[in-house]
Symmetry: C3
Subunit: 310 residues, 3 copies
């Protein structure tokens, strides 16, 4: 039978369909229990270590909330980069050997690709990648998947439009290949400077996915079931003028939504700045804050599954 | 019946008499149980988020101790100013929308007036203001009130002398209007540069309070039931020489106490530096460390009341 | 009957033999329960405050893991130096008075010798020294002792070789006097610049200990039961060239181990950098990661004993 006991969660593409379904189904169970006001005590006496070598308050709090809701507890290192061990030159491999003596499962966030793998090589306990630089952030992709399924009632046969910074956006790089399993039709909407990397687009097409690339959001909004918005980050541009020119290009507001399907779902990994107008918050399909809350459920599922507590 | 379920706690002056009494009475109950060695489990499975955009170790630990003593748990952001979300430009409104998915109640500390209100506007969970700049710090005022009642056996008919920096001291600005409900006679003792703002004094007098303003502590110490000392902060002065001239003006020591009523109660929001001599610690009426401990009880009361767990 | 209820743990040399045996025996009990998959709830409803005025991730997490495994909870101040109270000039004595209102036991780490004592003077709750500058770090010495006993099956009649920076290494300064109780034969291996302080060596000899001092590790490795390796720290040297010359002097690797007893135990307080080659990790006697895990058990013992929960 499919299970994830003892497994590290390092990349969104590590899962087969049975594993994906197991995660989504477990999150759904937890959702049902939580919504009914129930509480869970599955991970009582278990400790999660959160090792954050760069700040990511949302990801850290989401994982910590998840373990607490399962009855467990937390060892928190919010500023691991300045930790004494890292400063003294300890390898992540050795940090892994250390943390296995202190906790039952660990989440790591690190600016360098491959860091989660290095920690996992050292640690005998399950390690979850909470984002490693331009690399992977699998729990984000899974919560996106869970949100789409919950909002639309299904994952199959959807048209998903990804808009904004598709070049540097780790989130969309992980999500698109996951959605491809479910026959998603893609629209990739970005200025050419921030287009989806060619190898990802080519990879999706090679597996039979229908992908439309455009810089015109209005042209595709009417055929979109799920609009996934990402922030265009100033720090990506050498030339500030170029940033100023592009940043307003894809603002989602009520005017744009008038051209959308009435049941459009709008998602965003947050934090949002100006790319979704505040007026949109009142829209029924504005799912981005629910998406954030779903992160706790999906992370509860991951924690309970890798420790064999469900 | 009076209750505070689902309410935000944003300002000391938001409470009517029934609500004040409810808070004090709840704290008293918790005090009785704790003193008898009992434990409480009222908030089991509930999570408090502490979002501190400026350091305030005492306030943060006091709230965190409160939720732990109620059987709940904590999501702690001790350095929220440098959090990734704040750095990326997320509004406090959006942070509120996020945190409601992670926790059941939140405390915010922020250097800017109105911040707690902005977070509360976003969050559907109760928000407690842990101090917003020159604005409010309601739980401090409530614990001061609780301490006076506990030390003196009553709140009515007391002469309370506030001494030190009455101009910038947020604590005394919140406490004085609360005490006014109970017919307190006030002495405001400060150098003219640090006098109580005229609008507060005028407001108290307009409601019938008896207020004496002086710069001479010795002149009023003999008629004082409660002496509330605040620290004169160096950072308030452009001219260091002026600070040096004023800082020693109101040092409470044994010599001063010889002129005081034998049952004088001495309070201080802490940390104290030199404004209360260490020799005073041995004095029976030195209540400032008990006052700090009372902070946990009052914050337990607030947490349990706003979440409807009592 | 011997007990430690209400005691502060400030220095490794504060314990008599009965107390040492009580601590080791309690750790052993917890070890047995943990190894059998059991859980402990001895400190339910009790709060540990960890006050770290300098970073020491390993020590902090180890103590926090210890209280969590006992069913208790944590108030964590990972950056106490920048705490608002310390910044405003509060004494550690006053901090002690504060923390006794918030927690049931406290651990302090501080760069200045005597800090733990100052906090303990203020606090009515038990205080544990988690390292104060060049001073003491008693829980480290105790976990070293526990590890030797567990790895070798006994503490008596062993030859222990301490190698590396014996001049500044707080760890070895605390451990050697403890081992002396058990008739240990010592080899102190260091370059002359980093030799064990003469007063420690003299003190051991005065109590009858057999001590050999040398700079040649190979000369003594064959007669060694326990090899305790410490890191030579760059920051100890005014002249970087001197550091470069010395740092490679005592690298433990497979070539060296060929000259060792087959049942040699290798220890290190961690983090290790280059002084133990990674190839050594596979060696059965490489106990340094087990040693780190033992730290949790010994700290559980200390916490439970000083709070009278066992």
């Amino acid at each position: 039978m499919t299970n994830l006991v003892g497994k590290d969660i390092l990349a969104a593409d590590q899962f087969n369909m049975a594993e994906l379904e197991l995660i989504l189904q477990t999150a759904r169970q937890f959702d049902t229990i939580s919504s009914a006001g129930g509480t869970l005590d599955l991970m009582r006496n278990m400790i999660l270590a959160t090792l954050f070598y760069e700040p990511s308050t949302r990801t850290r709090l989401s994982f910590e909330s998840a373990i607490l809701r399962l009855g467990g507890s937390v060892l928190s290192v919010a500023e691991a980069k300045t930790s004494s061990s890292a400063a003294k030159g300890e390898t992540l491999y050795d940090t892994g050997k250390m943390i296995e003596g202190y906790a039952h499962v660990a989440v790591i966030r690190h600016p360098i690709v491959g860091s989660a793998r290095e920690l996992a090589d050292g640690a005998s306990i399950p390690v979850i990648n909470g984002g490693d630089g331009a690399g992977q952030h699998p729990s984000q992709a899974l919560l996106d998947l869970y949100t789409i399924q919950k909002e639309k009632g299904r994952l199959e046969e959807l048209t998903v439009t990804l808009v904004g910074d598709l070049r540097y956006g780790r989130t969309v790089h992980s999500l698109a290949p996951l959605l491809q399993h479910f026959g998603t039709r893609f629209n990739f909407v970005a200025p050419s400077e921030l287009a989806m990397p060619a190898e990802i687009t080519a990879g999706l097409r090679a597996k039979g996915a229908e992908v439309t690339e455009t810089s015109d959001l209005a042209a595709v909004i009417g055929q979109t079931d799920v609009l996934y918005v990402t922030r265009i980050q100033k720090e990506r541009f050498a030339d500030p003028a170029q940033y100023e020119a592009l940043k307003g290009a894809y603002v989602v507001n009520n005017a744009l939504l008038q051209q959308a399907k009435p049941d459009l779902t709008i998602m965003h990994p947050l934090p949002r700045v100006d790319e979704i107008a505040k007026e949109v918050d009142a829209y029924e399909g504005a799912a981005y804050f629910r998406q954030a809350a779903n992160g706790v459920l999906v992370r509860m599922a991951l924690l309970a599954l890798v420790t064999g507590k469900i």
